[in-house]
Symmetry: C2
Subunit: 247 residues, 2 copies
DNA sequence: AATCTCAGAATTGTTCAACAATTCTTCAAT
DNA sequence: ATTGAAGAATTGTTGAACAATTCTGAGATT
């Protein structure tokens, strides 16, 4: 694609406000039909979602600059709307605003990585120590199996996802909307610097055993033990990350 | 004030872009002089800060609607900028966006209150169990004394602030930027529903003893005991809140 | 060659005005 | 009382404009 007109996923056609673009009526019928009763996310939200996706896929590397006009053209959305999306992403720390200089993909130095792991230690360990309903525990188990399957299929990408699902499921034990949101945000931040150093096969694979053990302890109701294992895992993981990245 | 031109604190004079408003040159000199080397926060940020303040002071009660045009006029800021500020506040959960209907001050039902306390239990208890440097412990002590002074002066407002400082100081033990930010956000949410029911003098005052005990345990290095006390305090506090608000 | 300076280009910050889409109001008709 | 249909108000989004700031690249200076 060279000069995209509407690069946004979801609802296809732009409705063309402004005073330009003769605004062909084609597609309008389908658009209103599809909008059954679900509140359509705003364009700004969709832009934010799209950028979040590109961030997660490593298409936008840390430190990269996000120029308003470029994205505006690329996505066929006005600059003002882009700015609204930026405000969202900045609040999520995925992106940093330098006044008068622009927004950049967040870069996580050694200190920041430690900070992220501190949050994870606090939340994940507390969550697992609190246990959870059988359904939630089953979800943790499912994530473990998902990881095994990915390993068997030699799918690195899926392995990484499974690992994140595992940790997400652990926090979900607490059944807290806010904790889930916080964890999701932290995991999104982590994806950011996962792309910097290409992780080798052994990197993720070594986690599988840990996850299995943690899950088993959880299922057996040995919550303190599960917490200790998880804590050790997180410490170990941080050390490895620290090794891979600067310092 | 009837038709405010620049209701924003901080940097006084609006620079008047657009094509209107003859833009008197008065005040410009002082403005640039004051902007020594500190990155001036954007207007959107200042709007968000102002709204955050009004929210904290109970000037904007939960459920209240924030109309773009009204705030735009009131603060002498364009609608687009207001929207950017809204995006910030929505990300902080202080405000909720109903598509095509507007933004409203967030309301916290019983479930939400429980959720907020869940986050606090996770973070605060973990933080105090981890202990902290002498300086950070001293900061906790300072918050306790601040509360005592406020009680002696019969200053309800200050008592509330001191209490929040106390809990903020506990999280600060962990020396984590992100945890501090999360806690600040949660406390901001709590301020939201504190204004609903006017808390009587005994409400806060009963906390003073708890805080003192917790602080003493912390200073004595009895971290587990401090954690237990804090946990009990939080459970008790949640129950009281639940009693005051619609159950 | 290294660096300083300064005009011009590019970009961000902010505003205004317009209009489509949606929601809210009002008021009559059944 | 319920329904329905103008009409008013508000949000969502755009495009254009311009001030302020930062970036860039030649020359000029040491």
């Amino acid at each position: 694609m060279t000069s995209a007109e509407s690069g946004l996923p979801g609802i296809p056609g732009p409705t063309a406000a402004g005073r330009s673009k003769a605004s062909g009526t084609a597609g309008t019928a389908l658009g209103s039909a599809a909008r059954l009763r679900v509140a359509t996310p705003s364009v700004a939200d969709r832009v934010a979602a799209e950028l979040r996706l590109q961030l997660a896929e490593g298409l936008l590397l840390p430190g990269a600059r996000l120029t308003e006009s470029t994205i505006s053209e690329e996505l066929g959305v006005s600059r003002n709307t882009i700015r609204e999306a930026f405000a969202e992403l900045a609040a999520e720390r995925l992106v940093v605003r330098h006044p008068n200089r622009g927004v950049f993909v967040a870069t996580l130095g050694p200190g920041e990585i430690h900070d992220v792991y501190t949050v994870r230690r606090f939340i994940e360990v507390s969550a697992i120590r609190g246990g959870g309903s059988p359904e939630r525990v089953a979800a943790v188990r499912a994530a473990v199996e998902e990881g095994k399957a990915a390993a068997a299929a030699d799918d690195e990408e899926a392995l990484g996802s499974a690992n994140q699902h595992f940790h997400g499921a652990i926090v979900a034990l607490a059944e807290s909307r806010r904790l889930n949101a916080i964890m999701a945000q932290v995991l999104a931040e982590m994806r950011l610097f996962f792309h910097k150093a290409t992780v080798d096969a052994h990197f993720y694979r070594s986690y599988l055993d840990d996850n299995e053990k943690i899950c088993k302890a959880l299922e057996a109701g040995q919550l303190d033990r599960a917490g200790d294992l998880l804590l050790a895992y997180l410490n170990n993981s941080e050390e490895k990350q620290r090794g891979v990245h600067g310092d």
